[in-house]
Each structure stands twice: as structure tokens, then as C-alpha cells.
């Protein structure tokens, strides 16, 4: 048998079934491509419709809750709701220790009061300084002041005290 005898028979055997005409329109890859394109289109459509539905639902909820169709009213309502919902500011940490009863018993308020007094001390010291001459003039017989005057303050008061100079009155 010649060499091409086998190839002829092979050709006849392989070409005996007639395959469907290769039209790309009916090919599986074309259908897959169409399905994919349809899917992507429907995905965008789904996103669009869900967005529109959300917007419509928001409009309905806002208009029913505010009783108005005015978007400005909705905005005010939304702002006020958000302000109401905002949590109140937490108490400062300095006030919480004073509220505990254990520290009140320990006498912590006292140093605070002392501290306040210490801050205010300059004012009382200045006031007695300005007022000291008045009691000396009015209440001279007080012994305590006389003793103090004999001490350190003798020099201060000596120059300004007219008491010894008042002795010429009997002379008048």
C-alpha cells in the first residue's frame, strides 16, 4: 500500500462528520462575551436604581418627618437631630476627685481654702498699713499699741506722731 494511502483514509475518516458551519455569532465565546457585557451593563443599572431608590426613600422620610417639602427645612431638621444626637461633653477629670467622699474626709478642701487665703493675703496686709495711723490717733490710750510703738515702730511713728507736740495745748 502506498504511503499516502493511510493519509487518504485518515482524511476521509476525519472529514466524514460535518462540523457545524463556523459562524462566530453562534460561538460560545461570543455568547460569553455578550453575557459578560450584559452583566456589566446590568451591574451599572443595579447601582443606578439602588442609588435612585435610596434618594427617593430619603426624600420620603425627610418630608414625612419634617412635614415639609422644603429641602432647607430638611437640612435644619438634620442639623438639629445631629446636634441632639451628639454626646454631651464628658466631665473634666479635675472635678471628679473632689466629688469622692474619701477625699472630702481627708481634709483636702482645707489646703485649697488656705491656698485661696494665701493668694488674697497681700490685700489685708496693705489695708492695715493704710489704716494704722487712724487708730493711733483715735485710740491712743490702748496699751498694746503703746507697747508696740515703743518697740520697732517708734521710729516710723515718731516722725509723724504729733502727740508729744500736743503738749503745748495746756500752755495755751
Amino acid at each position: 500500500m502506498p504511503e499516502d494511502g493511510f493519509e487518504d483514509r485518515l482524511r476521509r475518516a476525519l472529514e466524514s462528520p460535518r462540523p457545524a458551519a463556523p459562524t462566530p455569532v453562534q460561538a460560545r465565546y461570543r455568547q460569553a462575551r455578550a453575557i459578560r457585557a450584559r452583566r456589566s451593563r446590568s451591574a451599572w443599572l443595579r447601582v443606578g436604581t439602588s442609588f435612585a431608590a435610596g434618594a427617593i426613600a430619603a426624600v420620603i422620610v425627610l418630608s414625612t418627618s419634617t412635614g415639609s417639602a422644603n429641602p432647607r427645612v430638611w437640612q435644619m431638621k438634620v442639623v438639629s437631630t445631629l446636634v441632639d444626637l451628639r454626646p454631651e461633653p464628658a466631665p473634666t477629670p479635675t472635678s471628679t476627685p473632689t466629688a469622692t467622699p474619701g477625699q472630702e474626709q481627708g481634709g483636702t478642701p482645707q489646703p485649697k481654702a488656705a491656698g485661696k487665703g494665701a493668694k488674697e493675703t497681700p490685700k489685708p496686709t496693705e489695708k492695715p498699713d493704710t489704716r494704722t495711723p487712724e487708730p493711733k490717733e483715735s485710740s491712743s490710750p490702748s496699751g498694746s499699741e503703746d507697747h508696740s510703738g515703743d518697740g520697732d515702730g517708734s521710729e516710723q511713728h515718731g516722725g509723724a506722731s504729733p502727740a508729744p507736740t500736743a503738749s503745748p495745748h495746756p500752755e495755751n
Binding site: G5, F6, E7, L10, L14, P19, P24, R33
Partner: protein, 192 residues
């Protein structure tokens, strides 16, 4: 006649490739699978896979050889599945006579197709690509994923097995090619 080169990713070119390669791919797979419906299914699946990879295709090998590679991988998987299914059917049919083949399904050269089907898929593929499509060693090496040097021995093994399957009625099989069947047979016999 000048053939326009295919451009990767171009849809019109892929359609053209489909029209030009579909019948040849179908016949290769029919030779390997021995079933027209299965061959058509595999070819369609092959074009689907190729279409997905089309933008990345590089024209370093003929497009049809690339398609053949995909199609034959699919055909091999199909045959593996088919063998498992057949084993299940044999177990189910145990004791009953095998049904006669439908006369409508008997086609011209059915015995040759049946003999090809009995070959291992890579041997049947080598026979069809060389003796039906006229593929060169290089193209065969690309499609089968083997070196050009091994193609000769593979073809010789295929011819030997085919001769065993077909019997003396088919006479001598083609002996042309880098490794001729008679020298292969003698070397096999000599080794034995």
C-alpha cells in the same frame, strides 16, 4: 494569497481565526476523541479559553498551533473523564452483553477512528497533526510541549500501536519521517 497577521486582542481577527481554524481543530479532536459531539464541545470550550487569553496572545507561534495546544489539553481532560465514566458503566453493565453500535453512528473509516481513539491521546494527536494537518516537527513540538527530538520516537510508537490495532488489513503505515516505524520496531525488538 497573503494572510494578514492576527493582532492580539482584536475581536475581528479572533472571529477570522475562529472561521479559519474551527474545522481543522474539530477534525483533530475528532481523531483524538472519536466522538463528533465531544469534539465540537471541546472546540467551543477551546475558543472560549482562547478568547479570554486573546489580548495576551503573543505571535511567537502560529495561532492555530496555540489553539491546538489548548484544544488538546481539553481533549485529554475529556478522555480522562470519559475513561472514568466508562469504568462506571462497565461495572453497571456487568454480565450483560455489550449493545451493538448504532448504524447511523458508523461513519466511513470508523475502524481507523476507533483505532486512533484507543491510542494514548498524545500519540493520537501526533498522528493526526503530522498525517492530516502536515505539521512540522517544530509545530508538533510546540503543540505537544515536547522537544523536536522526541517527536520522531513518539510518531514511531504511534504507528506501531496503530498497526497493532488495525491489523494486517491496513497494510503498511507511512514510514516517512525522522524516525521510521520499521527502524523503531527493529530497535524495540533488538532491545527486547
Amino acid at each position: 494569497m497573503t494572510e494578514e497577521p492576527y493582532r492580539p486582542g482584536n475581536l475581528d481577527d479572533f472571529d477570522r481565526l475562529y472561521r479559519e481554524s474551527y474545522p481543522r481543530l474539530f477534525r483533530t479532536l475528532f481523531g483524538v476523541l472519536g466522538d463528533a459531539a465531544a469534539a465540537e464541545d471541546c472546540v467551543q470550550e477551546c475558543f472560549l479559553k482562547a478568547f479570554l487569553a486573546w489580548p495576551k496572545w503573543r505571535p511567537d507561534a502560529p495561532a492555530e498551533a496555540w489553539l491546538h495546544r489548548i484544544a488538546l489539553n481539553l481533549a485529554h481532560s475529556h478522555r480522562r473523564r470519559e475513561r472514568l465514566r466508562e469504568a462506571g458503566e462497565v461495572v453497571r453493565r456487568l454480565g450483560r452483553p455489550k449493545p451493538e453500535p448504532d448504524p447511523v453512528e458508523v461513519v466511513e473509516g470508523a475502524d481507523l477512528v476507533a483505532a486512533l481513539r484507543k491510542l494514548p491521546p498524545d500519540l493520537a494527536t501526533a498522528m493526526v497533526l503530522r498525517h492530516y494537518h502536515g505539521y512540522s516537527n517544530r509545530e508538533l513540538g510546540y503543540v505537544l510541549g515536547i522537544s523536536e527530538r522526541t517527536i520522531g520516537s513518539r510518531l514511531a510508537r504511534a504507528r506501531l500501536k496503530l498497526r497493532t490495532e488495525l491489523g494486517p488489513d491496513w497494510g503498511s503505515l507511512p514510514t516517512s519521517g525522522p524516525a521510521d516505524v520499521d527502524s523503531y520496531v527493529s530497535s524495540e525488538v533488538g532491545d527486547a
